[in-house]
């Protein structure tokens, strides 16, 4: 499996269903397809926020959940519900630490020397800052992350 686009995605349906092998280029492709979907649903105003939060979530899966194997499967559903975008992501990689959402704290920048500036650790904080609600569930060998974003 490399990249599958749900049959209904192009029709005027309220959801965009994608499944793909986790890789940086497939993440990029998924974000572009989701952006097109949001535009067709009249939710272009949410496109930048969704791309940012969804990109962080998908990159986390690629880098961490599937750290020990490349190209693990990701199942993504993006649905519109009024002016709200609902995002559901399933992967079959490693669980989040302690099987719960990490703290969504932005890394500290004040009084930090140039060479100590953080080059990462922004992902969950960005998702938290952008999304209205977020939930994570580990069930059997499956990670299920859901969050919503207002347009």
């Amino acid at each position: 499996m490399t990249f599958q686009i749900g049959r209904q995605t192009w029709a005027d349906t309220p959801s965009c269903d994608l499944s793909f092998a986790a890789s940086p280029t497939n993440v990029r492709f998924a974000l572009i397809l989701v952006g097109d979907f949001l535009e067709r649903r009249g939710l272009a105003a949410a496109r930048d926020d969704v791309a940012l939060a969804l990109g962080e979530a998908l990159n986390n899966i690629e880098e961490h959940a599937y750290a020990d194997r490349s190209g693990g499967p990701v199942v993504l559903r993006v649905a519109s519900q009024g002016a709200r975008v609902m995002i559901d992501i399933t992967d079959y990689g490693a669980a989040l630490p302690d099987k719960k959402l990490p703290a969504a704290m932005m890394p500290e920048l004040d009084n930090v020397a140039l060479n100590d500036l953080p080059e990462g650790g922004f992902g969950w904080a960005l998702i938290g800052a952008i999304s209205e609600s977020i939930s994570y569930e580990r069930r059997d060998n499956e990670n299920r992350l859901a969050f919503s974003i207002a347009s």
């Binding site: 940086p24 280029t25 993440v27 990029r28 974000l31 930048d48 926020d49 791309a51 940012l52 990109g55 962080e56 990159n59 690629e62 880098e63 932005m106 890394p107 920048l109 004040d110 140039l114 060479n115 500036l117 953080p118 080059e119 990462g120 922004f122 992902g123 904080a125 960005l126 800052a129 952008i130």
Partner: protein, 116 residues
């Protein structure tokens, strides 16, 4: 990763000629930036006018190239599109980098007018 280098008076301008700096190209961005700017001096303005999408990996690579330049060579950012400006605000990286609305404004701040 397609970056170009132009010298405008006292500053080097590195222009990103692509519309995304994301996890797929973050390492390439760092390598391309390094090969353009080693063995040079002075401030560097990074022109992001074409960049519509910057994720946290892309942001990390921007921080990394400022570290490569070192204390004596500030990296300034110019031409941020709204989605890029938002990432800078949310992460508070706008407190770390000087940010100019446009490349012309960045050059004017260095007393240099852009080439026609």
């Amino acid at each position: 990763m397609n970056l170009t280098l132009n010298t405008e008076g006292p500053v080097d301008v590195v222009t990103v000629e692509e519309d995304r700096i994301d996890a797929a190209v973050a390492v390439d961005f760092k390598d391309a930036f390094r090969s353009l700017t080693t063995d040079r001096k002075g401030a560097v303005v990074l022109d992001l006018n074409r960049v519509a999408f910057l994720d946290s990996s892309g942001l990390g690579s921007v921080v990394a190239v400022q570290k490569l330049l070192g204390e004596g060579r500030p990296l300034e950012l110019a031409g941020l599109q709204p989605a890029v400006a938002k990432v800078m605000q949310l992460t508070r990286m706008h407190t770390v980098f000087s940010i100019h609305p446009t490349l012309s404004a960045a050059l004017a701040a260095h007393g240099s007018a852009p080439a026609a």
